[in-house]
């Protein structure tokens, strides 16, 4: 195959380009946190953390960690000037109440209708855990998913219908993978970007739902289109 999949940082770069200056943004734990590392310094983005922070800054210098200043992934962070602390109920007012402009979430599966499955698999050996995923999914104005296009064994994660338990129905606006950028449109998935060198038929083969292609499909490359 001539197409090289994007690295996680490259996908994060692509997501970061779509976040407007001045946005209030919540990044899910895991891969989405990369977006915070690569967003342009020319934009003023206010990062929200579910555990009661607006204006979350990067990790502190070693030795300066504050165990009471952590993010949703329980990693030490900092607060930027203009930041504020509040309690959990107020924090979820922000999330559920439609005050977050953009959230970037990881996912196990996304359906062609924008259904999101990112909290549970069909593995019953582990106790279920949900955290704030459902609140973010129903509450953010724009839900972006950042994930690999296929599972580690090559099966599609973008499907007609999710097979894993849903986080929320019809909430995802756009999906960013290591192969493509896809919008969830009123009549299904619309491809906006495809990684350089990947034939459309091959992208369709790796996707479990029918694709249409935008008139102006852009080419995704590590340097960006």
């Amino acid at each position: 195959m001539t197409a090289a999949r994007l690295s996680p940082v490259e996908v994060a770069n692509r997501v970061a380009r779509d976040i407007p200056d001045g946005s209030y943004v919540n990044l899910g734990i895991g891969l989405p946190t990369l977006v915070g590392d690569v967003v342009s310094a020319e934009k003023e983005i206010v990062f929200h953390s579910e555990n009661g922070i607006l204006g979350m800054g990067p990790a502190p210098a070693p030795g300066l960690e504050d165990p009471e200043l952590i993010n949703a992934g329980k990693q030490p962070v900092t607060l930027v000037p203009g930041g504020a602390f509040f309690h959990h109920t107020d924090s979820f007012t922000i999330m559920r109440g439609g005050h977050i402009d953009v959230t970037v979430l990881g996912a196990f599966q996304v359906s062609e209708d924008g259904d999101l499955a990112n909290w549970a698999t069909d593995d019953a050996r582990m106790p279920p855990a949900v955290g704030g995923a459902m609140d973010l999914a129903v509450g953010a104005k724009r839900v972006l998913v950042l994930m690999t296009h296929t599972t580690v064994d090559g099966r599609p994660k973008i499907l007609r219908r999710c097979t894993y338990p849903l986080t929320a129905a019809r909430v995802v606006h756009r999906v960013y993978t290591d192969l493509a950028v896809l919008d969830v449109g009123p009549s299904g998935l619309v491809v906006r970007d495809v990684v350089a060198g990947l034939p459309r038929a091959e992208l369709q083969r790796l996707t479990g739902a029918p694709l249409t292609f935008a008139d102006d499909v852009a080419t995704l490359s590590p340097a960006g289109p």
């Binding site: 000037p81 203009g82 504020a84 602390f85 509040f86 007012t93």
Partner: protein, 221 residues
């Protein structure tokens, strides 16, 4: 770059559409965004629904909007204060609609709107005429009434200090409905006594984080 500061109260209320629902802060005279309400008077929007605790007093603030026949309906808990003469006159003449809501329910309904909730059951008023034909449910042996979220198109709020991100602190009992209304409107407009530099407000003491605020104007009072 985030800068929610605007230069005038006229700019702060620009675009207010006829027929809007406007949440107006204040309890008695404390926390009433008088300068913003007067800017609405100048701006000209009419057929307004005003959500506020009292129904204005004297010739200023919400009373002036009522006098100028700009208010179709008022949703409040206590429209019968000393000086609510314009409201009383229009109400007696059947020229203004009143939805009376218990004070805690008024605040809680706006909170529900701001918090993305679909409504709640409260015991407040469940045994009263104000329950009207609302759904009543016995929960824990007690009658509760179902109350719906109350969102605004615009909120007009008075705070004490703001930075350019719109972070707010208030003063004393002038805080009242402001923090809740700020969460509940599509467009939240705030007047403050003074602007401060970003970073000047203690992050432990910010009452309304800027995420809830769209425009801030400095009015000096």
């Amino acid at each position: 770059m985030i800068d929610k500061r605007v230069a005038s109260t006229a700019a702060a209320v620009a675009g207010l559409a006829d027929g809007s629902t406007v949440l107006v802060g204040g309890f008695g005279a404390a926390g009433v965004p008088v300068e913003l309400v007067h800017a609405v008077l100048e701006q000209g929007a009419r057929d307004l629904t005003i959500v506020t605790n009292n129904a204005g007093s004297g010739e200023g603030d919400v009373a002036a909007l009522i006098r100028e026949r700009r208010v179709r309906k008022i949703i409040c808990s206590y429209p019968r204060s000393a000086g609510s003469v314009w409201f009383e006159q229009f109400w007696a003449a059947g020229e203004i609609e009143l939805e009376l809501v218990p004070q805690g329910t008024l605040s809680e309904r706006m909170r529900a709107a701001g918090a993305g909730l679909g409504g709640f059951f409260t015991p407040t008023g469940a045994d009263s005429l104000l329950a009207g034909d609302k759904e009543v449910r016995v929960i824990g042996g007690r009658r509760h009434v179902f109350e719906q979220p109350l969102p605004g198109d615009v909120a007009l709020v008075k705070a004490f200090r703001a930075d350019r991100w719109g972070n707010l602190v208030y003063r004393a009992a002038a805080r009242n409905f402001g923090p809740t209304m700020a969460t509940a409107a599509a467009l939240t407009v705030v007047q403050v006594r003074e602007f401060v530099e970003l970073g000047a407000l203690d992050p432990e003491c910010v009452v309304t984080p800027g995420v809830f605020v769209d425009r801030v104007v400095e009015v000096g009072v």
